[in-house]
Symmetry: C2
Subunit: 357 residues, 2 copies
Amino acid sequence: MRELNIAVIPGDGIGPEVIPQAVAALEAAAASHGGLRIAAESFPWGSEHYLEHGHVMPDDGPERLAGFDAILAGPVGDPRIPDTVTVWGLILALRQAFDQYVNLRPAQLLTGVRGPLADVPPESVDMVFVRENTEGEYGGAGGRVHRDRPAEVAVETSVFTRSGIERIVRYAFEHARAAGRRRVTSATKSNALRHAMPLWDEVFAEVAADYADIEHDSCLIDALVARMVSRPDSLDVVVASNLFGDILTDLGAAIAGSMGLAPSANLDPTRRSPSLFQAIHGSAPDIAGRGIANPIAEIWSAAMLLEFAGEQEAGAALMEAVRETVADPARRTTDLGGSASTAEVGTAVCAAVAARA
Amino acid sequence: MRELNIAVIPGDGIGPEVIPQAVAALEAAAASHGGLRIAAESFPWGSEHYLEHGHVMPDDGPERLAGFDAILAGPVGDPRIPDTVTVWGLILALRQAFDQYVNLRPAQLLTGVRGPLADVPPESVDMVFVRENTEGEYGGAGGRVHRDRPAEVAVETSVFTRSGIERIVRYAFEHARAAGRRRVTSATKSNALRHAMPLWDEVFAEVAADYADIEHDSCLIDALVARMVSRPDSLDVVVASNLFGDILTDLGAAIAGSMGLAPSANLDPTRRSPSLFQAIHGSAPDIAGRGIANPIAEIWSAAMLLEFAGEQEAGAALMEAVRETVADPARRTTDLGGSASTAEVGTAVCAAVAARA
Ligand SMILES: CC(C)[C@H](C(=O)O)[C@@H](O)C(=O)O
Ligand SMILES: CC(C)[C@H](C(=O)O)[C@@H](O)C(=O)O
C-alpha cells in the first residue's frame, strides 16, 4: 500500500477550522479510491508561532518539509502582525525555496453556485490560471532611501528571466494540451512596462509557435480584467506573471461565486521539491472561531494534491464529491447563501466520496 | 466672452470618429451654458505621423501644447506599430512632461445601461478612481541584459516617492470632501511588494489622519478586484498607484456597462501645465471606419474638461445631456445593444445640451 507523507500547516484564523476537513477528505478519498494511506504530520507555524518565537516558521523550516510528498497549507495572516512578515516568513519563502514555479488555479462556476455575473451560463466560467510563482514582481528586490523624510524614495524591482518566463509559458501550453483545452491567453502590459513585459511577450510568442494545436492570444492586463467580466467564455487557460496572476485569480474566484471555493496548487513540476496546496482565501479573522468558514477551497486543493501525486482516481473522486456537495443547497456555508457549518460540509464531502467507492 | 483654447489630438482608429463629436458637444455646451467660446486647434499626431515622420509627436510637442487651456485627446495605437512606441511617444510622455499626476476616472452605471453584474441596483455602481499618473510602476525605469540569450534578464523598477504618494492621496481625500463622498479606499499590495507598498500604506495612513470626516480603508489589490464585482456598493473613492489604477479603471468601465462610456481626466491640479482629457478606451481598429463607435466616453471627458476649467454650469449641462442620451434606447451604439451611429449619438447630445439652455 502506497503511503503519502503530507506536511500539514493549519495556519491562522479559519485555517485550523478548514484544514482538518481537508485532511479528513484526503484520507477518505485515499482510502476508498486509491488504496492509499495518508500519513499527515502537522506543523504549528504561523502568527502564534511568530508571536512566541519571533519567526513565522523556524529557519530550518524548508529543510524539515523537504522530505514530504506534499504540503497542505492553510492561510497565514493576523491583524496583529504586518502582512509582509507573515507572508515573506512562510508562503513566499516556501514558493521560492522549493522553486514552486507554477501556481495553478482553476476558476470554475460549479453547478448550483450563483456567481455575480448576470446572464452567464455556468459552463462559460471555466478557466485555469497558470501563474508564475517565483520571480517577477514578487522577487522581493528593492529598498527605501531617505526613510521617513520628505525626500523618501522606495523602489520595487520586478526581475524576469527568460528561462523563468519560458518554463511557465511552456507549462501553460502543456497543461492546455493535457487538459484538452483550446486556447492560452497571455496577460501582458508591455505597452507601459516597457522593459520586462516585452520580454514576456517575445518568449510567449516563441513558445506558442511550438504548439500549433493550441490557439493563443495576448491581452493587456487592464483589458483582461474587463474581458473576464464581460466575456468570460472567451478565456480558457490564462498564463500570467506573479502579480497579474494574483490579481486575476481573486477576480476569477469572485466570478466563480466565492473566495471560499477557490483552490490553488503551488507546483514544482520537476518534483525535486514538495509542492504546496492551499486555498486562495486569507485567514478571515472576521469569521474565525465560529465554525462557519467554507472548507471547500481547501478540500479542492487537497484534490489537486492527489492528482499531482499521481492519484488521479482518488483526486477525481474527491472532486466529484465536492461538486455533489456544493450542488446541494443544504450543504452550503453562508458565503454561498446557505447555513451549513464547516464541519457539516466537510462531513458531507467525506460521505459523498466514500459512497462513490 | 471667455475663450477656451483647446488642443485637440484626434489620434488613431476610432479617435478621428469620436473626437469631432466631443468637440461639437463642447462647443454646444459652452455656447448655450457658459457664454464661452471654444477655440480648437487640431494636432495630427499618432500612428500615421509616426509612420511618416518617425515619431508619434514632434520633439517639441509638449512645448507646442503648453500654452493651451486644455488638451482633448483620442486614443493612440495601431496594430502596425509596437504599443511601447505609441504609448511612450505620446500619452505617457505628456502625463510626465505636464506633471499630470492625477488621473481621475469615474465609474458609474448610468440609468438605462445594463452592466454585467446581476442584482446590482444602478446606484450601487458609483465610484471615482484617483489614479497616480506620473511615477510608480510606469516610471519607465529598467532594462534588459543578455538580450536574446538564454541567460536574459529584464528588470522593471517601480519608483515611488513620498511626495508623489502624498499629493495623490491628498487629492483623493480633497476630492471626496468636495464631492460629498464618504469613503476613500486605498489599493495596496504591501504584503508581497514589500518595499514600495509599505511606504504607500504609511503615507496613506498619515494623510487619512488629516481627514477625520472621511472614512478610509486599505484593501489588497487582489481582494479589491473581487470586491468590485461582489460588493461594488462598498466602494466610493478609490486611490491607487499607476498600474493598479489602470487595472481597476478598466474593470470599473466594464462593470459600468461599456468601455465606450468611460471617461478620464489627466490633471495637473497646480494648473502650471494644461490637463488632458481622454476616453479610457483604445483605438479599436476592429471597428474603426464604420461610424459605430460610442462617442460618449470622449464627450464625458469633455464635460470633465469644462468642469476643471471652472465652467461648472456648462460641464454639468453636458453631463446631463449625456445621461439623457444614454437613457434613450434609440440613441445607443452597438456596445450598449443599440444601433445608433457615432454621429447620431453625438448629435443627440448636442441637441439635448442646447435644449437645456
Ligand atoms: C499572501 C499573498 C502573498 C499571496 C500572493 O499574493 O501571492 C496571496 O494573495 C495569494 O494569492 O496566494
Ligand atoms: C495606453 C496605456 C499606457 C494607458 C495606461 O495604461 O495608462 C491606458 O491603458 C490607460 O488606462 O490610460
